[in-house]
Structure formats: structure tokens, C-alpha cells
């Protein structure tokens, strides 16, 4: 559609630039305030840091030393990476099995997994956290298992959809060549599943990384992840409401996401759109 006149094109581009500025502004405001003292953040949040209002890197130091940014970042990273790895491995295997075996229990299980996608977390959160306690899952290893259970619905749904598009002949040929189920899945099916695996990994990573409520309920007081540490700054878990430290924590937690996004933007956008089925 190249029918717009030059004047209109300039006008529309200016409009888009203005909207883009609106989209970036909130992040810029937070970065700006992360260099200012507490008083100046609440009295003039939109002012550029000046010699008077600037506190240099003090807020970041508080973030690192008092709030333990690195520890929270470490726990978030550990839980995210390990849960995603578990989800990829086990839900992929389960999806392939459920797509290939035509029995009543296989389809029942498939529908149960799909059903879990529409159930809001509030419906299960209380019994789930108590059960996790009873089963000794209230620790950084147990929570990986819980994430596998919650991530399974969407992941199995996406994997199964893709497995069904793989011609059966490929797997039959593998069987004739002497592959058992083990080899067929890991040597033949899994490599074909790669694009879906990337989608599943990105969707689950974004969810686990940003998740606040589940780790709060399951892990209790210890093992702060990033969203919990940020919430903790304001609820006074680290002594008083420190707005400057909050700003620094916000910046520190946004930066890795934006960096990751700029590097694998293509996969992220494609993955998120493919996951649009989730309600």
C-alpha cells in the first residue's frame, strides 16, 4: 500500500514517533528517578536529576547491599531456567505420548491438561500451597515440580498440536530401522519439535520470571525472587519505604528483560503470539 502522499507519510510518522515516546516515557521516568533522593522522587517525579536532587549510585548500592538484588536475581534465574528445562523435557515427552496413543485415558488426560489452562490460579492457590507444604515441596527444588504441573497445560497443548502435524511415516520408518520409543522421541521427534520448543520455552520463562504470587505462597519467607524483593521494598521488609531503592530495583529488573528482548525479539514475538490461545 504505497498510495499515501508524501505529506501524509510525514504526518503519520510524526504521530507514530509521538506514540512511541509515550510508550518509552514510563521507563525513562523510572531510570531518571533511580538517581534521585527519596524526597525529590515524591516532590518532583518528572524532573531531571540535578546536582541538588541527585544521589549518584546510592539507590543502586542500597539495592545491591541491603535488598540483595544479586541474590534475588540468582533465585529468579535458577527457578526460571530449571522450571523451563523441566517443562520442556517432560511435557514434550507427555505430549508426544498423548498425541500418538489412542486410548480413552490418553484423551482424558489431554483434556484435563487443556482444561487446566482456563482455571484461574485463585481457584487452586490455597489448597495447592497447603498441599505443597504437606508434600515438602515448599523449597526451591519443590517449586520446580509445581511449575512443571502448572506449565504442563499450555505446553502440552502447544506440543500436541505440533506433533499431530508430523507425518506418522517418519516415526514408522524409525521403528523399522530399530528405534524404540526412547530413540524415536529423542532422535527423531524432538529435533522436529524445535520451533515449538522455543515458543514453549519463551512463554514459560516469561511467566515464571515475572510470577509473584506462586513463589510467595509456596516459598514463604525465604528465597526472595525479584518480583517478591520489589514488593518487599515497599511493604517495609527491608526497613521503611525507600522509593529510591525501589526505583533502582525496578531499573535493574527491567534491564535484563529488555536486553533479552532486543536479542531474541523475533522468537519472543512469535512465541507470545502462538501462546495467544491461553486465556
Amino acid at each position: 500500500m504505497e498510495r499515501d502522499t508524501k505529506g501524509l507519510r510525514v504526518l503519520l510518522t510524526v504521530l507514530l514517533l509521538a506514540i512511541a515516546a509515550l510508550f518509552i516515557a514510563p521507563v525513562v521516568i523510572v531510570v531518571m528517578n533511580s538517581f534521585k533522593g527519596n524526597l525529590h522522587i515524591s516532590s518532583a517525579p518528572f524532573a531531571w536529576p540535578t546536582a541538588e536532587s541527585s544521589v549518584g549510585l546510592t539507590n543502586y548500592l542500597t539495592g545491591f547491599v541491603k535488598i540483595g538484588f544479586l541474590r534475588a536475581f540468582g533465585w529468579s534465574l535458577f527457578i526460571t531456567v530449571c522450571s523451563v528445562a523441566l517443562i520442556l523435557l517432560f511435557s514434550g515427552m507427555a505430549a508426544w505420548y498423548l498425541a500418538r496413543v489412542k486410548t480413552w485415558y490418553a484423551s482424558l488426560l489431554y483434556y484435563l491438561f487443556v482444561f487446566s489452562m482456563i482455571v484461574p490460579f485463585q481457584m487452586v492457590m490455597f489448597p495447592m500451597s497447603k498441599l505443597a507444604n504437606l508434600l515438602s515441596l515448599s523449597n526451591p527444588l519443590g517449586i520446580l515440580f509445581i511449575y512443571l504441573g502448572f506449565g504442563a497445560g499450555l505446553s502440552i497443548f502447544l506440543f500436541t498440536g505440533f506433533v499431530k502435524s508430523i507425518p506418522l511415516e517418519i516415526e514408522e520408518a524409525a521403528t523399522i530401522d530399530g528405534c524404540g520409543p526412547w530413540q524415536t522421541y529423542f532422535l527423531i521427534v524432538l529435533p522436529i519439535l524445535k520451533p515449538t520448543s522455543i515458543t514453549v520455552a519463551i512463554l514459560n520463562a516469561m511467566w515464571v520470571w515475572n510470577d509473584y504470587l506462586l513463589p510467595t505462597l509456596v516459598l514463604g519467607g525465604g528465597y526472595m525472587t525479584l518480583p517478591r524483593a520489589i514488593q518487599g521494598v515497599l511493604t517495609g521488609s527491608y526497613g521503611g519505604r525507600d522509593m529510591g531503592a525501589l526505583m533502582a530495583m525496578l531499573v535493574l529488573s527491567i534491564l535484563p528483560i529488555i536486553a533479552f528482548y532486543l536479542v531474541c525479539q523475533k522468537y519472543i514475538i512469535r512465541g507470545v503470539v502462538a501462546g495467544a490461545v491461553k486465556g
Partner: protein, 284 residues
Amino acid sequence: MQKTLKKARWFTIFVVPTLLAFLASFLAPFLMGIYLSFCKFTTVTNARWVGVDNYLRVFTDPGGDFVRALSFTALFTVVSVVTVNLFAFALALLLTRGLRGTNLFRTVFFMPNLIGGIVLGYIWQIIINGVLLGFGVDITFDAKYGFWGLVVLMNWQLIGYMMIIYVAGLQNVPPELIEAAEIDGASGWQTLIHVTLPNVMPSVTICTFLTLTNSFKLFDQNLALTGGAPGKQTAMLALDIYNTFYKRTGWEGVGQAKAVLFFLMVGAIAFIQLRLTRSKEVEN
């Protein structure tokens, strides 16, 4: 292969690990949740059957928390669905005109979607409080500030996401159809309403559904932006359920009953809405 796979050994290897995790984290808690909504309990091990008492208490609660949260959530959801989809569709139209820098704009508009709810909530709390500073109040002063704050936040977060889906839909509209409409003398507006829009109805279905459930189930953003203040006036359903469970001793059963009602509403909305919008789609 199917024959081999049916053996218990292969079921155990391929399905049981996921199944066990699913049982422990979702299926057992889900069934327990339904049962517990008819019980009085403080932990799940001391449940005592009380029939529909919890459900009655949801609606006879003198504070009226649930009903207020429901109407707040419903209003918020309607406003969000309309605004997010209008803006997202308009942006998608702008980004499918072959302008220079389209990819860069797409990157920028989508970015907020990746930021977590808690972080989003605090970012907007700073900005909205900064704006309200000029009027000598803050976001907790009046429920309407919290309401519109949540709407703005939701727009900032979801517009880029929905825009991407609309762009994909618009790119699939056959250009011949648009050209034919123009040759027949249709104005730009008529072409948009009568040719483009019916052809992107599948995208409209997906986006409406996504905005609807995302808005209805909102929790993190609500917790961080207003925490329900002033009072409980801006607490949405998910936050009200959370508060009933963890902030009111002796109300755990009522919290679970609210959660069951919440689940039924989310399920019903998803079902009704899909059926409604599907019938409007162009048959291919």
C-alpha cells in the same frame, strides 16, 4: 509404535513425571478446592462440612466486598477491552501502511508486555502519583483514580501485544478485495468497515478474548498499583479472594467459595464470548 507405547513401562517413562506434578499442583488442589468451598477450615487438614454456608456468607458479608469487587472488575474489564482493542487496531492500521521504521515501532510498542505485573504496577504508581501531585492528592485518594490508573496501565501493557495480532490479521486481507472496493467507489471509511473489518474478525475474536480474560483475572498490577486502596474500593476479584484467604482469619472457606465462583465466571465468559464472536467471523 502405538502397541509398544501402550505398555505400562512407556506410560511411566513418558507421562507419569508430568502427571505427578500436575496432580500435586493442579488436579488435587482443584478437587480439594471444590470440596473445601463447602467446609469451614483454617488449614486443609481440619475441614468440617458446612454445606452452602460459605456461599451464603459471600453475599451476606456486611462489607459487601465480593459484590463491590465484581462490579469494579466488570466495569474495568469492559473499559479495558474497548480501549485496548480500539488503540491496538488503530496502531495496527498505521503499521501496515508501509511506512519507514515500522519494525522499530513494533519493537517499542510490544516491549511493555514483557515487564512483570508487580514492576508495571509500581512504575505507574510513581507516574500517576506524580501527575496527581499537582492536585495535592495521590492515587489512594479516590477510587476513580485507581480505576483509570489501572485502565491506563492495562492499555500500556496490552496494546502492543494485540497490535501484533491485528497486524498479522490485516496482512492476510487479500489486497484485491480492497482494490475492488475502491474501484466500486467506496470511501476509506466504508472500505475499513465493510471490507477490512469482516476479514480480520478472527483476530478480533482472539484479541477480545485475550483482553477480556487478562483484565478479569488481573492480580499483580492491582496489588502493586493500589493494593485495593482507598479502603477496599479498587480491589478486583482476584485481589479480594486473596485478601479473604490471607487477611481475614476464619474466612478461608468463604475465600474458597469466592474462588469457585470466580472460576465459574471465567469459564462462562470464555465460553459465551467465543461462541458470540465466532458466529460473526467470515466463513472461509
